[in-house]
Every structure is written in C-alpha cells, then in structure tokens.
Symmetry: C2
Subunit: 176 residues, 2 copies
C-alpha cells in the first residue's frame, strides 16, 4: 500500500484524538501495518481547533508529522477554515454538513456527510459521533477493515457499549 | 526553559496515552508552552509494551519524536527491559515498585515508587493509577503546576470524578 496521511480536525470534546488512536491501533494490531499518531499543540491550539495526525503504512515511518494529508476531516467551521488548504492535491476532504459550510476551492475531492445529524437521529447521543465519522473514513479509504476497528474497540470499552459503537460505525459506513 | 522530552511506557490499559495527552494539554492550555504528543506503533507494539512520547518547550517543536528522553517512566517489566537504555545520560528514570524489578545499570537518576500500591491502598481502584503517576512526574520535573493538570481534567471528566483524580494526583506528589 502507499503511505496514507490523515488529519482529523475539530474541537475538543468531539473525540477526534480518540478516533485517531483507535484507527492507528486497528491498523497495527489487526492489519499488520505500521502507524504513527500525534498531536502537535502550540499557540494555535489555544485558539480552538484540535488537530490530530495519523500516518499508516506497510513500511516503517520515520517522520511522524503530516504536512499534506491524503485525507482531511474537518468537523468544525474553524477547523475547516484553518486546515482546508493543507490537503494534498487530489486528496479527500470530508466535512460534516451540520458543522461546516464549505466555501473554499480546493484541489481535492470534497464530500459532505450529515454525520452528526445521523447520529442524533438514529442513536440520540452524540458520544459515538467520532465512531460514526470513523465509519465514513474506513468506508471511503479502505485503510482498515471495519472488523479491525471493532476488535480494537472490544479491548477499550465495556461490552455494554460495544453495540452502540458498532451501530455508529455502520451508520457512518452507510453514509459513505 | 530547556526542552523536556518524556517517554511514558507500560501496557495497554494503564492509561499512559491518556496521561501523556493530559500533560501536553496542561502545558499548552494553562502554561503557555508548546507540546507535541505522539504514539509510534510498529511490529514492536504488537509485542506488548505501549510507548507514548511528549515534548514540552517554550519554543516551537519541529521534530515530534523522542530519541533520548530526559524523563522515562516504565510501568511494566517489559517496558523497562525494552526502553531503559534510551534514557538521556543524567536523565530521570521512574519505575513502579510493584511492576518493575530494576536490574540494569543506567547513567541516570533511578527512582522507584509504589504508585500502584498506594492507589490501591488509599483509593482502592486502579483507574486513577495514571493520574497518580502524573503526580510523581509533575512533582519531580516541575514541568507544569498541579493546578494546570486539574484544570485540564476539569474539561475532560465529569465533576463527580474530579475529587478522585485530585486525590490520586496529590498521592503521587506526596510519594515523590
């Protein structure tokens, strides 16, 4: 596989860091890939937009920071305004319909999904918003199998919450 | 301040990644410092020892990976065996008495604390083990003020758990 660089961006509390860690762990523990996951905080982070980077590859990864992502997910308007122009030409830009109004031209495939709205309509609780977002990403990028995400979740959350997470993941895959 | 490079290592479920993120966020949000926090997973990670890196500085940080940490925390024997020799000469190596038997010579200050035992004796629940460990680190390194850790926790966990976390943090500081 080619090296795939992802940036998830949004606001604190949307679970983007957790989603990035789950994706990285799924790739490493269940797909025999290598992954690096990082957060870089600076003056900008105090402003509001959270950003987390994941690189997945079947080769070893030396430099853990993403400069131009193949895939960029923006879950707030602020994150979109700030990061939309780092996308790699020809990359994939995913936004949430509820939180982001897309207005900029980018040299990438832009797709919008009602991720938040779907979670609220079908599940009624925002806590699995990040897992539904992962469903969209997994379906569109084919980076890891959905079962690898589920196996990773099994090691992290109580059994009683697994079904909720599975539903959210499948809703996201359905959207995509 | 001089740039400070930290590596937390242990096993999945001990909360080392969460602790690293909390420390990084405390430094950035409440101390006006810069921080980078990362996990690098590869073939080795499938073996067992979890490792997470944090760099804190008042200047910008270009390279987010830690090669030689100023501070290394090992919370399992496997993590200690694997990582003890990456410590920067003159650095600080912290281990948990219950989980690690120190046997190697390193050119560093080696300190052992009964972190796990203290949490179990005084609190009875292992879930704040990582926060108690952070208390040790904060006290020994003075990287951030304990109140900055608490303010970060306030934004992340329900109010009813804050006291438990405060107790764990203070227990750790007391140990150190």
């Amino acid at each position: 596989m080619e090296r795939y660089r992802l940036v998830f961006s949004g606001s604190g509390g949307q679970g983007v860091i957790t989603a990035a860690i789950i994706l990285a762990e799924a790739a490493v523990l269940h797909e025999k890939l290598n992954a690096v996951q990082s957060q870089s905080y600076g003056a900008a982070a105090r402003g509001g937009a959270t950003r987390t980077d994941v690189i997945i590859s079947d080769e070893s990864i030396d430099y853990p920071k993403v400069i131009q992502p193949n895939g960029l997910i923006c879950l707030t308007q602020e994150a979109y305004n700030k990061f939309h122009n780092i996308i790699r030409p020809g990359g994939l830009l995913i936004t949430d319909t509820r939180f982001v109004e897309t207005s900029r031209k980018v040299d990438a495939v832009q797709v919008e999904f009602p991720i938040y709205q779907t979670v609220m309509d079908k599940i009624g609780k925002p806590i699995v918003f990040n897992i539904c977002m992962l469903g969209v990403v997994v379906k569109l990028t084919q980076l890891v199998k959905p079962e690898s995400i589920m196996k990773t979740l099994e090691g992290r959350i109580p059994g009683s919450f697994l079904e909720l997470n599975r539903t959210a993941l499948e809703l996201g895959m359905g959207l995509a």
